[in-house]
Subunit: 352 residues, 2 copies
Amino acid sequence: MNLNDMIQAPGEWMRGSGPEAEIVISSRVRLARNVRGFHFITRMDEAERLACETHIRNQIQASGVALPGAYFPLHEMEAVDRKVLVERHLISKEHEDGTHPRGVAVSQDESVSIMVNEEDHIRLQVLQSGFQLQDAWKLCGKVDDQLESCLEYAFSPQLGYLTACPTNVGTGVRVSVMLHLPALVLTRHIEKVFQAVSKINLAVRGLYGEGTEASGHFYQISNQVTLGRSEIEIVNNVETVIPMIVRYEHEARQTLLAKDRKRLEDRVWRAFGMLKYAQLLPSDESMMLLSFVRMGVQLGLLKDMTLRDVNDLFVYTQPAHLQKLCGGPLEPNERDMRRARYVREKLEHLKL
Amino acid sequence: MNLNDMIQAPGEWMRGSGPEAEIVISSRVRLARNVRGFHFITRMDEAERLACETHIRNQIQASGVALPGAYFPLHEMEAVDRKVLVERHLISKEHEDGTHPRGVAVSQDESVSIMVNEEDHIRLQVLQSGFQLQDAWKLCGKVDDQLESCLEYAFSPQLGYLTACPTNVGTGVRVSVMLHLPALVLTRHIEKVFQAVSKINLAVRGLYGEGTEASGHFYQISNQVTLGRSEIEIVNNVETVIPMIVRYEHEARQTLLAKDRKRLEDRVWRAFGMLKYAQLLPSDESMMLLSFVRMGVQLGLLKDMTLRDVNDLFVYTQPAHLQKLCGGPLEPNERDMRRARYVREKLEHLKL
């Protein structure tokens, strides 16, 4: 599997299937692990970083963890290719931006990715479409066991798994769920949801994680505390709150329909009209328009489209995917033109 | 001819034909006349106003001026019907808003309208599509002669025709041309054109005359001075300047195409997409979107549409026309819904 093959189809989490897929885009469990015998990343020199990356890479490949898949050595790749991995949520933005020896192992269906030499030696992530945290947690544990059988983790009986950043010490678990919440934004109830969520020590972030904007009305809900709690407590904590937010979003959609159906239809159809006819489509605008269209599909207003159609557009209109599809780097203006053309072609066959 | 028949087809000036019709919507010549033996309108009591209206109406109908057509007694009509006449540019807003006995005689093809008891006893207007001021002026003279043969005008050998407002004394002629100038607005050259125009004593106004906004990038250019100049001088003065403005607008469109064709196409197609899919369409927005579409048709960007298609949409999406088409008065929100539906239905058959 290489990047050019990979880009031909969306990964597991983009399938638009799974429980509650209308609102829950994906469920993610991430573990932070470090390998005994190496310094933390920030304390290493370049030679040790290379040695650490080589060691972990070799062990993963030798023992067939998360295979059949691919290992991408990021420091040897072009910027646009690294960006593709970010857009597919296989690596973090920090991992994309690094310059030292580092990489990522990705399973065939992209549900498992193992970042090597990110903030920690190992960041293991399982990402699945829809609301299936328990499944993701189980798969994560399985891969973690596989890794532990070939690598000696840095572990303290008192503190748990040792991590570069103290906020991850303990279980090293981060659990997050990506939600699509346009109606809570439109009804201005989103802030209330966030306040409630933060009271139970969960964090809200944008589409690409920490410090990013909630473009396209996408929000990540994740745990903040890893120390002093068992892994399953953390998973359960997030799992309990998600159905409530999902219900609020559904209720907000029904409120919008009941109070001013025509206004909502207007938003949805205008978004569709823009996507269908625009000749220049900036990335941010495209996300926002697709968000309204996605809600329209879920509400049955746009009958000839599926969630999968919209999810595909979300993925392939992102800058790096678009440039890969077009066969090379593009100037921003050219990008907006190609994005508009791509979307028009995808929507052309619809009887709308 | 009654109002319900009239509304089925656009009037002469809305045909979208005539010289320079791509930019010049219509040419208009208006004469202000008063009848000897009656006070000016503002000095009359109600009884004299009724007598004046009856007298002029009888004379017009008896002598068959501007016939076959119809006479509309405005004070006996419903508000929405008077509004239809404004939207068809057959009466002024002031004439619509009056409460005293007054009316308008309209020729079958709507090129001639004779307002009775507006600011003056008689306001004779000839309105033709495209740039044909000379034809409009000739027809206006002909109808003026017909009127003069059955009515005795108030005329002073020194001052010329006497009018209620001193700014109209003399010839009582107002000549105006309605232009569609979107590219001059987009390139921000419109102000320069206006400054040049006002230096030669011409005025610039919005779509419905004095004090109205230039919605949909429509502008009326007209003479300001009527005293001390012959009628033909006034007509020629306006006629000379119009081809220059038309050329500037054409040049501005070519500049937009040359400098950033894609940006212009984007504007035009987005406007088309909005019109095609919006479920709520306020009047002002509709005008603006149609304006971009109209320019797109002229530039050959929207190949399956004609200027006549767009001009029809301009006419029939106006509030009063829309309400007449829908068979009765509508709340503003309902209006926006019906307007959107009307436009969607009209655009549906287009292969775009």
